[in-house]
Symmetry: C2
Subunit: 146 residues, 2 copies
């Protein structure tokens, strides 16, 4: 019994599997972050900073209150992983930028997600392409609304 494991899964089964994998990946991420003294949320915020992002924008990305972002950025800034710089166009806005050390540390966190990497290694190129295509199809439904 190796091939015929799937005679059309229930929507509930699929949902459960997706949830389980999502959780597992999050644990993997959190563990990698912790090894560098970061909480999951701090690492997640850091991961958003490809360029300068205003506090408000971070709140939107993390789907949380703006006042919450203040504290998280405070702690990251205290560790020198992030910098607040005034936006030239609007003096109310503070843009958050990752320092070099900040970029480096999040790069390492991503690289050290061993469980996730080894999971993806189980698939060959063709399978990854198929998976990517299917997940892309899921995105519009999930990304919008809540």
């Amino acid at each position: 019994m190796t091939g015929t494991t799937s005679p059309t899964p229930t929507k509930a089964q699929l949902l459960e599997l997706v949830a389980a994998l999502g959780t597992a990946q999050w644990q993997d991420f959190a563990a990698a972050a912790a090894r560098h003294g970061l909480t999951s949320v701090q690492a997640k915020l850091l991961a958003q900073l490809k360029g300068p992002v205003p506090m408000r924008g971070l709140a939107a990305l993390l789907v949380c209150d703006a006042s919450n972002v203040t504290g998280i950025v405070d702690r990251l800034e205290a560790r020198g992983l992030v910098r607040r710089e005034p936006a030239p166009t609007d003096r109310r806005v503070k843009n958050v930028v990752a320092t070099d050390e900040g970029h480096e540390i999040i790069r390492r966190v991503r690289a050290e997600m061993q469980a996730t990497h080894s999971a993806l290694d189980a698939l060959d190129e063709a399978e990854r392409t198929v998976l990517y295509g299917l997940l892309e199809r899921l995105r519009p439904g999930l990304e919008h609304r809540a």
Copy 2:
């Protein structure tokens, strides 16, 4: 322009997409839980209670300290969604059981994950089967180790 979106995605791209979908689904779950006055963690714990589970087991399932579970169960118990009952075989152990109301509320939370449901609706049966198969292949790598 519908077919040729994927000339073999990078592992990094795939990783990012998986992370994004995982996050979106979690938000969906958290929002549904919040509508019933539950935090995400409370809902997640409730979701594990198909049968009686000892505190220790819940700590393992939620991947957190046992002392943390005490508080979460306290709050759920105060709302009558959960019950602690002594294990007959070992008087140290307390088994946590969902009450009828507890089962009902988590059933509703699952049913109200609109974003997730509509996302899965974008796939037909054949696609779901393929997706399920691919995700199944990912499981062993993710589930074990961290």
